[in-house]
């Protein structure tokens, strides 16, 4: 594993804080994600994991702190501009365009690469037509990454897809923007064991085939421990630990955060 090797830093969070009224959902977090690694964020429910994703992707603006991607600040950028910088994501509670076809979902993912000015579109200028064609072919390639099912059903509406397949399509949409960094929010949530095992495989394949850095939120320890290069643990908005999986597994604070709470609750 590339766990301890000091690669180039791709994404850096410096003292990032996010408060909602009185609640500090993310509390002075520092993170460094290196190029090419699979980095996992774990932590109990409500720890602030999804909020970190929302801060990185511009859906929320940090209350304080700095977010640096690829050497420049992406703080206060709108989600579409963050995407154009090279960060794509999926959502914990899958947000596909249900009443668009599979193909259309994959095409929307490539929106930044297709001209959408009135002139090019109305007159179907050569650059527009070329971009549409290219996007269509690329969509087919991306769908084919997950085997033949999505390709064969490309004209079907996304709403018809089974749960695990919807997660895949959301990844296809995210890949459309040719991201450098892919954020996956609980990509195996709600999946059975076979589907989870499959997801573990394709997450690793994603990194290889698309030359990606992957930031992962995951509850299932068999997933995070198996594929992560490094793991950060959040609890009540604070980072309580960070390290390679073997270290995290034996960290007292982590065990307490996960198990201690259970004892309290019982």
């Amino acid at each position: 594993m590339a766990g301890t090797s000091k690669g180039e830093v791709l994404l850096q969070l410096k003292n990032v804080t996010k408060s909602f009224g009185g609640l500090t959902a993310v509390d002075s977090i520092n993170l460094e994600i290196r190029k090419g690694e699979i980095f996992s964020i774990i932590g109990p429910n409500g720890a602030g994991k999804t909020t970190v994703f929302n801060l990185i992707t511009g859906i929320y603006q940090p209350t304080s702190g700095e977010i640096i991607f690829n050497g420049s600040s992406i703080k206060n950028l709108s989600p579409d501009r963050v995407l154009r910088r090279g960060i794509a994501r999926t959502f914990q509670n899958i947000r596909l365009f249900n009443n668009m076809t599979i193909m259309e979902n994959a095409m929307v993912g490539q929106h930044p690469f297709i001209p959408s000015d009135l002139f090019s579109v109305t007159f179907r200028l050569p650059n527009y037509r070329a971009a549409e064609k290219k996007a269509h072919n690329r969509a087919l390639e991306l769908l084919a990454f997950f085997g033949s099912e999505l390709v064969m059903r490309k004209e079907e509406y996304a709403v018809n897809l089974a749960y695990a397949v919807r997660r895949r399509l959301e990844i296809v949409r995210a890949l459309g923007s040719r991201p450098k960094l892919l954020l996956l929010d609980e990509p195996t949530a709600g999946m059975n064991d076979a589907e989870t095992a499959d997801a573990i495989k394709y997450i690793q394949r994603l990194r290889q085939e698309f030359d990606l850095t992957i930031l992962l939120i995951e509850h299932k320890l068999q997933v995070t421990m198996g594929i992560s290069d490094r793991i950060a643990v959040l609890d009540y908005g604070k980072k309580i630990a960070e390290g390679i999986p073997a270290d995290i597994q034996h960290n007292d604070l982590v065990i307490e955060a996960y198990l201690g709470r259970k004892v309290e609750g019982a």
Partner: protein, 441 residues
């Protein structure tokens, strides 16, 4: 006595079925042969578009021909043609609003504003008269009618963007209220700002005479509206083509994406500001073009022609026809105009001239003074209510919308013939551009 109540009940339960109108029409179409095929063949699939397209294309000739067997006092061709043109103007409005509401999913209740702007733009631009802030008449260089069309589209489009900009963060009800306010403000500004001659009304010069290689064509001839009719039809066809091009493009996809899930669209790279303003601007520009045609057609415009009722009518048209569906909103516009212009006034006339009702001892005597035109929105409301209960996806549904409604378990599974037609139509570029012919049936 014993048999009649049940018969009556039966009739009440399904008047259409017991009268067998549908069946009769169906039988007629199936059994009548023309060139070895039954008539029903000619009016199914893509051919239905061609059928109505041909009727629209030859409407002036058909109306002239009808004078051979129809009473001219009721069926004066030129007056019917005028109705068809006014109907065509509403078709333009419906197609424009469909971009904002149908594609982008932004509820706009103030669409009349752009209609006003278009009408006044053509009035000022072609008359060459404006007033300064001291109410003095100032002559400005007059533009031709042809130049006024793109100018009105530009100004209305710009105003659409101006309205859109502050409302970008608003959704649903809030957006509806702000746009509603905008639709109210524009006519009031026109009424109260002297510059606009609002309270007096403004004379709009008629459409011009054009010299062509085939002779003079008078678009403004009040005795023969056919030239202007064809102009209206041509503009509608252009707007339809424009809508189709937009719908099947990166812009159309982005509109549908923001309608489906704004956050996910934004996270997929859709610039929300840009794509929403585009919808507002383009919808408004088409409304402005509708306004130009309205201006020259009604020849005298004043603020009170532009009420909230126009916005609501256009919205009802697209809901009735099928939100997001191009043939749907065209049919919706024509149908509502037909109900408005013919059905309501006919019923109203019948009530007022009915001799039995004229008798003061008749318990229904009060109906004589019942002016249906003042209560027509009640009727529209009922039509809409019925539609939402029976067929929420509209007369000619948009595929996607149908799915959305099915998703929440509202829409009946059954697809009517018209629904089938639409599915076949989707790919073809020949929707029924205009069905003005309905006016004579």
């Amino acid at each position: 006595m014993s048999a009649s109540p049940s018969h009556f009940q039966q009739k009440m339960q399904n008047p259409l079925k017991s009268l067998g109108i549908r069946k009769k029409i169906g039988d007629f179409l199936n059994n009548t042969k023309f060139l070895n095929r039954s008539l029903s063949w000619y009016v199914t699939g893509w051919r239905v578009g061609v059928f109505w397209g041909l009727i629209a294309l030859f409407l002036p000739q058909l109306l002239n021909f009808s004078t051979n067997f129809l009473d001219q006092t009721y069926f004066a061709p030129n007056i019917l043609l005028l109705d068809a043109i006014l109907c065509g103007i509403y078709v333009m409005l419906a197609l424009g609003l469909n971009i904002v509401v149908g594609y982008a999913g932004l509820l706009d209740l103030g669409y009349v504003a752009f209609f006003v702007i278009g009408s006044y733009t053509v009035a000022f631009a072609t008359s060459g008269i404006i007033r300064n802030i001291h109410s003095q008449v100032v002559n400005i260089p007059a533009l031709t009618f042809w130049e006024a069309i793109p100018l009105a589209a530009l100004i209305a489009g710009f105003m659409g963007v101006l309205l859109g900009a502050p409302t970008l963060r608003l959704r649903g009800d809030y957006l509806a209220i702000v746009t509603l306010g905008f639709g109210e403000i524009v006519p009031i500004v026109i009424k109260d700002v002297p510059f606009f001659y609002g309270a007096l009304g403004f004379q709009v010069p008629p459409a011009p005479v054009v010299n062509t290689p085939f002779g003079q064509v008078d678009f403004g001839n009040p005795l023969d509206f056919s030239a202007f009719y064809y102009l209206t039809l041509a503009v509608i066809i252009l707007i339809v083509m424009f809508n189709i091009l937009l719908r099947n493009s990166s812009i159309g996809r982005a509109w549908i994406a923001i309608r489906e899930d704004e956050l996910a669209a934004s996270a997929s790279g859709v610039n929300l500001v840009r794509i929403k303003l585009m919808a507002f601007g383009l919808g408004a520009a088409i409304g402005g073009i509708g306004g130009v045609f309205n201006g020259v057609m009604t020849s005298s415009i004043s603020y009170d022609q532009f009420s909230f009722q126009v916005s609501i009518s256009v919205l009802i048209m697209i809901v009735l026809g099928g939100i997001g569906s191009i043939p749907g909103v065209i049919v919706g516009a024509i149908l509502l105009r037909f109900i408005d212009v013919y059905v309501i006034s006919t019923i109203s006339n019948m009530l007022q001239t009915n001799t039995a009702l004229a008798n003061p001892s008749n318990p229904f005597h009060f109906l004589v003074s019942f002016n249906l035109n003042t209560t027509k929105f009640l009727i529209f409301g009922l039509v809409l209510l019925l539609m939402i209960i029976l067929r929420p996806q509209g007369i000619i549904p948009n595929k996607r919308r149908q799915l959305e409604l099915k998703g929440v378990g509202l829409a009946p599974e059954e697809l009517s013939v018209i629904g089938e037609i639409e599915r076949e139509e989707e790919g073809s570029s020949a929707p029924p551009e205009s069905v003005e012919g309905l006016g004579d049936i």
